[in-house]
């Protein structure tokens, strides 16, 4: 069993969905929550102060990048990432495994760890669960992720089974290596791809370890949406009700709503800021491409009524005319997108507290799919599982 450096209080539920408070070493986080990704110690183009003003209380750092630059030993010496980037709220770090697999030439996975080629100088490097946890202890995140055997989501058969079993064997090494249990939390990651039996095996084994919280991994990897929600639903059915659940790498607005309804508490995704840099903004009516010609003389803000700093001052036209020339426009759209997701979760949470979640979800989907005039089947099916009545009629 692990010590905990968190407190999780569920205030109210609506079927599977929960409105909770996650209290971490650097303050309270109201959940469900979207966690912006600040890979290398900053959210692209925004200062720590701006993130604070957007209402962010928990953001991500990537261990793989940070351990390489400025380095784990360095961060430990200067008092951790919080101090280094002057962020007084919470931080979550990943294990580095995912980046390693996606950015490096993978050499070999053995029982001991992962051998890979350094993308910097091509030298052979080795990452064991102990190394990942050590790096994350040095970074000092409030929530750390256990190193697991990462395979492609859609992998089936023997390789997925091996990955699951190894993930379970490695969790004890992760826990064993964790040196700051009183101030940092370690979440194990439920793997198993799209195989319910493997997910069950993983869930049973990891739940035995009595971790402070759990992550659902191995999704958002190009799988079918029907498979996606069913696995999420299966995991939240089995995960402990009194612990936070983090769905890794998922962050489209409709995904956030569906999975919050299914009982997920934490989300992260780089999409909001990445897509902003290409001129795409989130709105309650779906994505808005600010580079499109029809925005040239459109003096409305990205979203009318949005209270983000960007919408207070700038029009679609201004962003359209500026985006190709000045990076400031990208920063402004990022700011809107981050606010959009942070605020969407805040409103969803409030709707649970106010006993009007079903109404909120119906309104959200009605707006979000107003162009398509049709709710995707996977969402309709997921809502049945979440016991939420969708009663949406689109105008002709």
């Amino acid at each position: 069993s692990m010590n905990k450096a968190l407190k999780f209080v569920v205030h109210k539920t609506c079927n599977k969905a929960r409105a909770s408070t996650l209290t971490l070493p650097h303050g309270d986080v109201l959940t469900p929550v979207y966690m912006p990704v600040g890979t290398k110690g900053t959210i692209k183009g925004l200062t720590s102060q701006e993130m604070e003003n957007l209402g962010c209380r928990l953001l991500l750092g990537n261990t793989y990048h940070l351990a390489y630059q400025p380095g784990g030993n360095y961060l430990e010496k200067v008092g951790g990432l919080h101090k280094f980037m002057n962020w007084k709220y919470n931080i979550l770090t990943d294990s580095g495994g995912f980046q390693m697999v996606s950015l490096s030439k993978l050499c070999e996975i053995s029982e001991e760890g992962v051998k890979f080629e350094s993308p910097v100088d091509g030298s052979e490097m080795f990452l064991r669960p102990e190394d990942s946890v050590h790096n994350q202890n040095q970074i000092g995140a409030d929530i750390m992720m256990a190193l697991d055997d990462v395979v492609q989501t859609t992998t089936v058969g023997e390789r997925m089974k091996i990955a699951c079993e190894r993930t379970v064997r490695w969790i004890d090494r992760n826990i064993q290596a964790h040196e700051r249990k009183d101030v940092q939390n370690l979440y194990p990651i439920v793997q198993g791809g799209l195989d319910f039996d493997l997910r069950k095996y993983c869930l049973d084994e990891l739940i035995k370890r009595d971790a402070p919280g759990y992550a659902i991994g191995g999704l958002a990897g190009g799988e079918d949406k029907q498979d996606f929600w069913k696995i999420v639903n299966y995991c939240t059915d089995h995960l402990p009700k009194d612990k936070p659940r983090y769905l890794m790498g998922v962050g489209y607005p409709d995904d956030l709503i569906v999975c919050s309804c299914l009982g997920v508490d934490q989300f992260d995704c780089v999409f909001s800021t990445r897509t902003a840099r290409f001129g795409t903004a989130f709105t309650k009516y779906g994505f808005m491409r600010l580079k499109n010609a029809d925005k040239e003389f459109d003096l409305k803000p990205i979203e009318e009524g949005c209270e983000c700093p960007t919408c207070q001052r700038y029009s679609r036209s201004f962003l359209h005319n500026t985006i190709a020339k000045e990076e400031t426009a990208c920063h402004l759209i990022s700011q809107h997108n981050l606010y959009f997701l942070l605020n969407l979760m805040k409103q969803f949470r409030q709707s649970i507290l106010d006993d009007r979640m079903e109404e909120f979800v119906n309104e959200f989907f009605k707006n979000y799919f107003s162009h398509e005039k049709q709710i995707p089947q996977w969402i309709q099916d997921a809502m049945v599982a979440a016991k939420i009545n969708l009663n949406i009629k689109f105008d002709e």
Binding site: T47, H65, N86, T322
Partner: protein, 402 residues
């Protein structure tokens, strides 16, 4: 030296106009630019040359240009726009000459040079409704006297056009209607003439004959040496004579520290400034010492000494691309600097961001550099009020140029 502080609405002298990119400060969201309290921004007209239809839409919907570029309602009345034909940020020379008397070619962000008539230029300017309009000018085609002569003639013509559009005469009776002259936009006449004293003098004289509120010294960027530059500035100020007491004088350049010291030594009031952004773009953070307790006791340097120093020395900066050099510096850029970057972040963090090519690093440097310019001008103003400008310039040069 005698220095008469003038007040342009909220602006003390010496003061500066900060260059923008399409109306916003380099890399900064309004949240980051607001604490810098810059109340005078340069808008480069070529950034909006193709926006005629946009301005019509703004007018239809009763929205101001200032609100379009992000000014809050409160800022609209206290933040001023200085509309300039020249943009020291653009990689290309911002202007090319044409054979016609009433056109120039302006470099636009929309792809290359675009020929525009003075009529068209001021029509757009009027739609922007700036607080200050700098008259259109033509950068001479060549280095010869002939092209400078031509440039001066065209520039004066452009000034007349500006006056006719921004100060239309009411009922043709100017004496009686003097009180009704529309002064919501101040007109600053451009001074060209390059190295040719005669042309420069002619340009100054003809400009002074017109109804203007200020003059902008152009064309010193092409000077080959700092002595030439200094001579051009000194001569222009001499030609302006006593008129300069009643006119706003502006020095048009990148606005380097050297430009400012040179200009202030010659009594110029205001400076177009883009240099802090350009430094930030190349990841250089200003490292100026503003602990000026003893400036008043510093012996003034002679003009020659000032020139020699400006020629050979540079303001101190941190090169934030040198990661190893800064990674142990767990302090802000400069001691006591009150900017957001210095108050909240360390050199080590900025150097890390720059190494990772994260724009937040550039943002923090921009904030700091502009703040340093704010302090420089505050101190210049204070020294001017105390009649100690020469002492301050000497102190600053000794302390901050290496």
């Amino acid at each position: 030296m005698a220095y008469k502080p003038k007040v342009l609405k909220s602006l003390k002298s010496p003061g500066f106009f900060m260059n923008t990119r399409k109306g916003t400060l380099y890399q900064l969201t309004n949240h980051n630019s607001e604490p810098l309290n810059l109340n005078h921004l340069i808008v480069s007209q070529s950034d909006f040359l193709h926006c005629e239809k946009l301005f019509e839409v703004l007018k239809e919907q009763n929205k101001s240009f200032k609100s379009y570029i992000g000014f809050s309602q409160e800022e609209e009345s206290k933040k001023f726009i200085y509309l300039s034909p020249i943009d020291y940020y653009k990689p290309q020379q911002t202007m090319e000459a044409t054979a016609k008397a009433d056109t120039v070619k302006l470099y636009t962000t929309r792809g290359g040079y675009f020929e525009v008539s003075d009529e068209q230029y001021y029509k757009i300017s009027k739609m922007i409704n700036p607080d200050i309009i700098v008259s259109l000018t033509e950068i001479p085609t060549g280095k010869g006297k002939k092209s400078h002569k031509r440039s001066v003639e065209k520039t004066i013509g452009f000034l007349d056009k500006a006056i006719s559009i921004f100060r239309p005469k009411v009922n043709g009776n100017n004496d009686q209607n003097e009180n009704h002259t529309d002064k919501s936009t101040l007109i600053f006449g451009s001074i060209e003439g390059g190295q040719f004293d005669e042309q420069r003098k002619e340009c100054v004289q003809k400009t002074l004959e017109r109804d203007i509120d200020g003059v902008v010294l152009h064309g010193t960027e092409s000077a080959e040496t700092i002595e030439e530059k200094a001579r051009q500035i000194a001569l222009t100020m001499e030609y302006l004579g006593e008129h300069k007491e009643n006119l706003y004088t502006v020095y048009s350049s990148k606005g380097t520290i050297q430009d400012i010291l040179l200009g202030v030594s010659n009594g110029i009031d205001y400076y177009e400034v883009d240099y802090p952004n350009q430094l930030a773009h190349s990841h250089q953070a200003l490292n100026l010492d503003f602990d000026n307790k003893n400036y008043a006791d510093t012996q003034p340097l002679s003009n020659e000494e000032i020139l020699n120093t400006l020629k050979s020395k540079q303001p101190k900066t941190f090169n934030m691309t040198e990661y190893e050099k800064h990674k142990e510096s767990l302090i802000g850029f400069t001691d006591g600097c009150q900017c957001y970057a210095c108050q909240n972040h360390t050199q080590a963090y900025v150097a890390h961001l720059i190494k990772c090519k994260e724009l937040t690093g550039t943002i923090l440097i921009t904030i700091h550099n502009i703040h340093q310019y704010n302090i420089l001008f505050q101190q210049l103003q204070e020294a001017a009020e105390n009649q100690k400008l020469s002492n301050y310039i000497s102190w600053f040069i000794k302390t901050n140029l290496i």
